[in-house]
């Protein structure tokens, strides 16, 4: 089996030759470490007043250089190179619409405001600060991205990456447009909660716009030849779902269904990424038509055995490898033990992919490699782990 076949077989809930591995890497430090190159300590340059002034006067240049089809494509070209070097079967690439405002600030197409900070290792990190679409007035004047224009960018981005990486790794496409997460962060969670009570119609307007954007963009992914779509949309926290299942279904259910349908109509499988304790939402995610669910955070109390017990073979389970210790500073033996446990509990009969639950800059490239090696050691079918 090649990598793509292995991944698609698992996503279909069937048994490939070996449990596949998926990389969610999009943070600069582990990518640079995996590629064996220094992580550029450029943030301090941004602290020089002259550079700040210069940057403020040349934002058009930064917006050109950092455009998803230029800087973004170059970044994910390298992220996929790192995934490939580490031996992953599948790797994530994200198309993301944003605009640099000045040397301090970035805004995205969902109304999030970010601030440039040190990534903890001297590099630059865009840190989420707040949402700008705080009320219907702000939504009215908010400059909305045209879904067709956005989709053109998405098509170009993934066609390029697929042309380069297509045969070497299974590309997983994120189109930078989700529902619950984009909306709650684009207005702030408290505002979202207030509007859900005061004027759900306002929320429905935004949701409809986001669904159209996501559907067009996902259609473009299908046209680019990429076969797997990843929707990053946190619905839970460590104690369970943030919204009641009824509210989730009422506000977002139709949108999530249309997004899944768009992926399937374009010949793609679609994976739902959500952090937190999602056990109570698994059935719903399967009902919406998703092929897999990714993250399955052990620190939020999710075990693969319980997830499997609840959902059977209706969803491919992806993740459950811890990012607080295991993929940060654990020993080789600890990483092997954890991956072994994941495969034992999640992989029997197929429908499981090994991956981290999320990514951050303190994740170690060395530990990711161990995770891949452990999967190669324990993940051959038939699984034989006591």
């Amino acid at each position: 089996m090649n990598k793509l076949e292995r991944v698609l077989t698992a996503l279909d809930g069937r048994q490939p030759d070996r449990v596949p591995t998926f990389s969610m890497l999009f943070d600069g430090k582990p990518i640079d470490d995996a590629l064996g190159r220094p992580h550029p300590r450029v943030f301090r340059v941004l602290e020089i007043p002259f550079v700040q002034k210069l940057a403020d006067r040349t934002t058009w240049l930064w917006n050109t250089l950092a455009h998803p089809n230029l800087g973004g494509a170059a970044f994910f070209y390298n992220a996929l190179r790192a995934d490939f070097k580490l031996g992953f079967d599948a790797g994530l690439a994200m198309y993301y619409g944003f605009r640099v405002i000045d040397h301090q600030e970035l805004r995205d197409i969902s109304g999030r405001r970010y601030q440039f900070t040190d990534d903890g290792f001297g590099g630059i990190y865009a840190m989420y600060k707040e949402g700008l679409i705080t009320d219907p007035g702000a939504w009215k004047t908010f400059e909305k991205m045209d879904p067709h224009r956005y989709a053109r960018g998405v098509r170009l981005f993934f066609s390029f990456l697929n042309w380069i990486w297509g045969g070497k790794i299974a590309l997983v496409a994120c189109v930078g447009a989700s529902l619950h997460q984009d909306i709650t962060e684009g207005m702030g969670f408290t505002n979202f909660v207030r509007w859900s009570r005061k004027d759900p119609g306002f929320l429905r307007d935004i949701i409809e716009y986001k669904v159209e954007l996501a559907v067009e963009a996902i259609r473009a992914v299908g046209q680019s030849g990429v076969k797997v779509v990843w929707l990053g949309d946190d619905l839970a926290y460590r104690s369970g779902p943030m919204l009641s299942p009824a509210m989730l279904e009422d506000l977002f259910g139709d949108g999530y269904r249309r997004i899944a349908e768009a992926a399937h109509n374009g010949g793609c499988r679609i994976v739902f990424h959500t952090c937190g304790n999602v056990l109570d939402l698994l059935t719903m995610i399967a009902d919406w038509g998703y092929d897999g669910v990714q993250a399955l955070e052990p620190t939020a109390g999710v075990t693969l055995a319980e997830a499997r017990r609840r959902i059977g073979d209706r969803l491919c389970l992806i993740g459950n490898v811890d990012i607080t210790h295991t993929l940060v500073d654990a020993t080789r033996e600890e990483v092997f033990d954890e991956v072994r446990g994941c495969i034992r509990d999640g992989a029997r009969g197929g429908g499981y992919i090994v991956s981290s639950t999320n990514t951050h800059n303190a994740i170690s490239a060395r530990n990711l490699r161990w995770m891949v090696e452990a999967t190669e050691e324990y993940g051959r079918y038939p699984i034989d782990i006591a």
Binding site: T117, G120, M127, Y128, K129, F189, T190, V193, R194, S196, R197, K198, Y237, R238, S239, G240, P241, M242, L243, S244, M247, T299, A300, I323, T324, H325, V328, H360, N361, A362
Partner: protein
């Protein structure tokens, strides 16, 4: 509890964001004491907490209940004795340097302020210097730190050291909370308590501030 106070309590439990001001005003017009109205609201909040524990209410309902409390307090605040607002002590609350997760912190802040604490919310990604300044300026009795990222846990000890260096550590109690915190971490970082959720956070600060 009389009929008007029952209505106030029920409005909190039913998350009546639009009507709470009216309901609180009616209770006052009917002759209820401001403090009694506040107590009824707090009782409502207690029931919300129970419904949350029973799995009837979700995070979104808890946050909404906090917002309803805030709206009700807008009417009550000018009428309550200055001491009964913030009487339980002053808490400086923030999410640590390098971390922007604020949903939990905001919820803790709402619960504390609606339970009688004065809350100085410094926001997210807060440097230690700002904490020291705020503790000094507001003569705070306690600090609440929200931490969700394992990579940022050292920010906790940075704050503890900065407070010691400023000679303020002995006069202030410190509690932490958030997705990546454990009792082991609290012990290691030299803080006084760990809060697992917003309801527990209130109890902890009550005991830390000696109320």
């Amino acid at each position: 509890m009389g009929e008007h106070l029952e209505t106030v309590k029920k409005a909190i439990v039913d998350l009546e964001l639009e009507d709470i001001e009216k309901i609180v005003s009616s209770a006052l017009d009917a002759g209820e004491e401001p403090q009694a109205v506040l107590d009824a609201m707090c009782a409502g909040m207690g029931s919300v907490g129970e419904l949350f524990d029973q799995g009837e209410y979700f995070l979104v309902d808890l946050v909404l209940a906090g917002e309803v409390m805030k709206e009700g307090l807008k009417v009550l605040e000018p009428l309550l004795e200055a001491e009964s607002m913030g009487q339980k002590g002053t808490v400086v609350l923030f999410t640590v340097k390098g971390d922007v997760h604020d949903i939990g912190k905001n919820l803790v802040g709402t619960m504390l302020s609606t339970s009688g604490f004065k809350v100085v919310d410094l926001g997210v990604d807060v440097p230690k210097e700002k904490v020291v300044d705020a503790v000094r300026e507001h003569s705070a009795q306690a600090i609440g730190m929200s931490v969700l990222l394992t990579s940022m846990v050292d920010s906790i000890s940075d704050v503890v050291s900065a407070l010691s260096a400023a000679g303020l550590r002995d006069g202030v109690k410190i509690a932490i909370g958030g997705a990546c915190t454990t009792q082991q971490l609290a012990d290691k970082m030299g803080v006084d308590a760990l809060g697992r959720d917003a309801v527990e956070a209130v109890r902890i600060f009550e005991s830390l501030c000696g109320s």
